[in-house]
Amino acid sequence: MNSETKSRILDLHRRNTLLNTPAPSLMVTGAMDFGADERYAPIDERMIATAAEALEAGQTHYVDVPGIGPLRAAIADYLRTAFNGQYQQANVIVTAGIQESRFLTLQMIGDSVERVAVPEVVHPGVKKALGVRPLQVETMAVDAQGLPPIAEIRKALEAGNRLLFLESPSRLTGAAYSAESVAAIAEAAAQFEAVIIWDQGLAPWAEGYVSLAAKAPGQTVAIGEAFPGMGLASWFIGYIAAPEQWIASMQSQKQIMAICTSTAAQYAALEASKLAAESHASQLPRLNAARQALIAALGTTEVIPGATASVVALRLSAGKKQQVLKELQDAGYNAADGADFGMEDVLRLTISQDSTALLAVANVIKGA
């Protein structure tokens, strides 16, 4: 069919480079996939039981837009205990996963301040969310670990930006801001009365982690997956925790584009909230050990230092990276391309606890 209307809109979409940024898949497709954002995690049968009971009891209807009360309270609780965040139930919106958290925060807070500054290296989901509706986007340069240094953050604020997006840990390298850096970011945010969207989704796997939510609660909009590592990645459940003045506009947008989050996922997450602390404590050393074994097996390959046990980022020359990616693919493996995040010479492996597959990957990389 020859339609000018269609050609025009398709052309607009085609030229929307933000929207079209390639992104890794969310969930691994099998034991040989190290490229997805989330590794496989088993699910506790108590979570299944709670979700099943809720459905059988008729929790199959619309629920409150920002989430069921007990889950909002449990997320606020978790943020207080795990990250020292100053949040109550009223500060929390349950989302249909991390991408909805990115979208609602960037688009709705962005709309009120008209522009946003994001790191040059960031999860492609951020660019995608910004591509949905035009917003002025500025970038902050990053250091070798993929994090904007304090000087860059200050520069963005001095240039008039009042909304910044930061990942800590970085979704590409796993590097996280130190306590001193977080304090400095908090101070800058307060000085400029800026809002920081703070993606802390990988935090459970970072030792000695400090959240901006603890240092600048009035300035921080924290986002993440609801209880990562608990087997809920494909159930799509995340959170936004924000000062109350930002909740209303995001909640009303959530109503417009979703009505609410699926009840099965919410009840499973509610049960996960009770199990997460213990589970994270037992998963972390195992992930760390798997990561160390991988690094040792990689020999002289340059590993970007990062505090996060669930990822390893390798620095490779651009030519080498293409070759490694190809050889991994030929051998049936998969890794994430740093180029999708804005860092050409990096390749990311999502750590699984299956050490045999990990060591085989190391061999392919070394051999390339």
């Binding site: 069919m1 339609s3 000018e4 209307t5 269609k6 809109i9 398709l10 607009l12 979409h13 929207l19 079209n20 898949s25 969310l26 969930m27 691994v28 497709t29 996939d33 997805a36 995690a41 699910i43 299944i48 979700a51 099943a52 459905l55 008729g58 199959t60 209807h61 619309y62 629920v63 249909a96 996963g97 991390i98 991408q99 909805e100 979208f103 989901g125 995608k128 969310a129 949905v132 509706r133 035009p134 087997g231 494909s234 159930w235 799509f236 459940i237 009303s252 947008q253 109503q255 417009i256 584009m257 979703a258 009505i259 609410c260 989050t261 699926s262 009840t263 099965a264 996922a265 499973a268």
Partner: protein, 385 residues
Amino acid sequence: MANPAKTGTNLLYALIAQARGYSDAIIMGRGDPDFDTPPHIVEAAKRAMVEHHADAVPAEGLLALRQAIAERVKRVNQIDVDPATEVVVTNGGQEALMLMVLAALAPGDAIIIPEPNYNTYHDALKFARVEKIGIPSTAATNFRTDPAAVRAALTDKTRALLLVSPNNPTASVIQRADLEALIALAHERDLIIIADDIYDLFIYDDYQHISPASLPGGKARTLTLNALSKSFSMTGWRLGWIVGPADLMARVRELKAAITGGTSVISQYAGLAALTGPQEPVQMMADAYKRRRKIVMDALDEMGIKYGVPQGGQFVFADISFTGMDSAELAEKILTDQHVLVYPGAAFDKERGQYIRMTFLQPEDKLQEGLERMRVAMKNIMGTH
């Protein structure tokens, strides 16, 4: 007096909050079926929690579900789609609606919207910075959208046409001749059609639901939304879809990846069970709505309230202009007096203040009681007004 600043979704939420304060409230407003999801679907979800909890799900949805959707739209709607490239699974009809608007329109474009209409379309257009061109309709014509009125309203910026049939809140079904005329107009003026078929399984009397994409010239320019929320009583699962031509659907997929990334794997397996399992529960619910529709129409007749005869869907849109009151004021009074919640027409369109929407989504005895209380409230209100 209802707060005039409260309109649209905010107005609804204020009334819902008030209704929650009454332990004996009867809700004849919200579009949430009273039936729980059929048990075989819940069972399938439970199995999926064990067997598929970590399945990788692409942004467009599981292939098995997309195949089931393709079969469904072929069987029910006579729309032919390729599950590989022409189906995207969404978080309910609501996300589908937002994605269709964003995929078909750019800021500054205009779209024709028959009015009144589902209020979220207004909100989605605002988000997308798209201009709305409203085509008003009235109870006197059972809220028919006149193709001649659509033609007269077109502007240079008009790029799309919204067709919700059966409509929410008016319960009108677009008749074949009108639909053919509208598709011809879309062809002549090169408009994309955004079709919302969410109530397509609930049709009354001799009316017939026809999907625009099933008619000649329809498919290549039509995005069609549907969801399991209303048909299988699955509002809490958040499962819907869009079907359409591959070129536009590729954009829908990108937008879906940017907004939510994917749809819960458990809901997808539940949806698969709904579409491929026994269809009797749908018929049982459709029969119940048919009986309830008659109960509501009879009660309104008795109260002397005029309405558009519901041709489909789950509600009736009634004209309360004889009260001399604005619908928000009347809804608040009925709620305060007798704890019965009906939705003010003003929530759907600020020009529709002389209507109220009543759903049939309550068991018959409760519906009867709600209508009886409403009769008492109307008497009290009219006596003092």
